[in-house]
């Protein structure tokens, strides 16, 4: 079973996704979905993804709401900066933060969150120094931005480790 379906969960999710996208339960759709899930499972095996274990799903839900609130807030903030850019040039700059997240999936999630909130752009993560270089559009207060990243980091650490 393991040789055919190296990632059973992934295969199941892909099958369900395929059926929902096609909105049919015809045998043909199920067959294509199964083949798709199997082949993509093999491809994933070749990619050697890092496995991580989720703890505290309840904390993850709270964190999701926190992130959504931040996304809304930063969208409005960046929109107003762009609209006022003629009169008040943006005060942008680089920032570095020390991160001690080990988990690769947690780092990837952090990159997604920082990109989804406009105003912060993930530039470079130094694996040896464990520092993250990012660019901020509105550099009013460096400590606030560092605090935000640290807050995300703490939550991700709680969820992943």
């Amino acid at each position: 079973m393991r040789t055919w379906f190296p990632y059973p969960l992934l295969t199941t999710v892909l099958l369900v996704m395929w059926l929902l996208l096609n909105q049919s339960l015809a045998p043909g759709s199920i067959l294509i979905g199964l083949v798709l899930g199997m082949v993509l499972g093999w491809v994933t095996l070749k990619l050697h993804p890092a496995r991580s274990h989720l703890h505290r799903i309840g904390r993850a839900a709270g964190f999701l709401l926190e992130v959504i609130a931040d996304i809304v807030r930063s969208n409005i903030a960046v929109a107003s900066i762009i609209l006022r850019a003629h009169r008040f040039p943006a005060n942008a700059g680089f920032l570095t933060v020390d991160l001690d997240l080990e988990d690769e999936n947690a780092l990837a999630l952090l990159a997604c969150i920082m990109t989804a909130t406009p105003g912060t752009a993930w530039l470079e993560y130094d694996r040896r120094q464990k520092t993250l270089l990012f660019h901020v559009l509105d550099l009013q207060n460096e400590e606030v931005w560092r605090g935000t990243v640290k807050r995300y980091e703490a939550a991700l650490k709680e969820i992943f480790q």
Binding site: L21, I82, F94, W122, L133, H135
Partner: protein
Amino acid sequence: MSHLTDLPTWAAVGVCSLLLLGAAMTLIGSLGLLRLSNYYERLHAPTIATSGGTILICLASMLCFAVLQSRWIFHELLIIFFVTVTTPVTLALLGQAALYRDRFEERNGVPRKHKPESEKSTD
């Protein structure tokens, strides 16, 4: 599109305002590409379109088809998911390309790369 007339007024108002807000966000994102002055600042402008714009327009579509009950709202969730997951790749790639070039040309205002001790001695 005759079946769109089945949409009740409250839903139509909601769908329209979400759609217009999303379009406005996307427009502001494009405007940012014009207005912001340097490359790293301009990196932020499209992310407003990919997060705010996409989410609002997908929410409008979800509301519309949920009220009409003509189709599952699963597609929009997938769009939001994949856009959110794939944008960081492009953004980091563009940012790193710019950083690499600026460091190579030794421009001012660009943070230097920290070299570990072992590589410093060989330089």
